[in-house]
Amino acid sequence: MKSPRRAFAEVAGSIEHRSPAASKEEPTVPIQSDLDILVARQNGRALAQQLGLSTGDQTVIATVISELARNILLYARPGWMILEVLETDGRKGLRVVARDDGPGIADIERAMQVGYSTSGSLGLGLPGVRRLVDDFEIFSRVGEGTTVTITKWKP
């Protein structure tokens, strides 16, 4: 169910914070309420199905979107979810970008550990999402916001 290829990057530097307005052709879903979580994950499942991902991978995409949207709601609302279909070297994949202008994460490595949470929650979200996807990138700058980008490739 999972491709063994996996890239991981923690970027905490001077990369330009990507503006959601910059990507015009992609559907951007604002995340401001629990209903938005539902809409975002239904959009994600529909796109995954359209792309021909298995029902297992559709569930993975919907769940990942749910976890990332939930983090925006909890820690950094408002934020946005951007869904896009990738095609590189004959491979197809679905990319999810969760982006917010919230407080940012000071210690990303810590936030990625199982059990670490600042909200008394389970602290499973970020490490779990990383395990579920093929590519995972998190960029955060304190005071500016957080961007998590994941990709699930079609096997």
Partner: protein, 128 residues
């Protein structure tokens, strides 16, 4: 969408009909905890067959339901977790520790019958 709660003999059955918002799930929790006392139910089944996503919030809320119901003296069984959902939950580390599960409604009812037969008419629940 409100989750309907049916009374079937000494049991309550919460039958999730579609994807739920966080608020819907919290309503389900509150309604079950209230009804189980008012109707003196001995067991609760939450049928999640229709839930296509079980994230950390949903998982936690189901655990909470089971624990609250137990403190009210009744048993809870979660039934109908789909294979893809089970797969994703485990990868996320969501294992519903301490919560009883069954394949489907039938399995859940059989379990409750066994459990409640062993105890008194009004029942009592034991922590695991």
């Amino acid at each position: 969408m409100e989750v309907p709660i049916l009374k079937q003999g000494p049991y309550l059955i919460g039958s999730v009909q579609s994807a739920l918002t966080d608020k819907d799930l919290l309503h389900l929790r509150d309604n079950l905890v209230e009804k189980v006392g008012r109707l003196r139910s001995r067991g609760v089944i939450v049928d999640v067959t229709a839930m296509d996503v079980m994230d950390s919030f949903a998982s936690r809320t189901l655990s909470d339901i089971a624990q609250m119901i137990r403190l009210r003296g009744a048993e809870t069984v979660i039934v109908g977790i789909q294979p893809e959902v089970a797969f994703t939950m485990v990868q996320l580390g969501l294992t519903l520790q301490g919560v009883t599960t069954a394949l489907d409604l039938e399995g859940g009812l059989t379990f409750l019958d066994q459990r409640t037969k062993k105890r008194g008419a009004d029942g009592a629940a034991r922590a695991r």
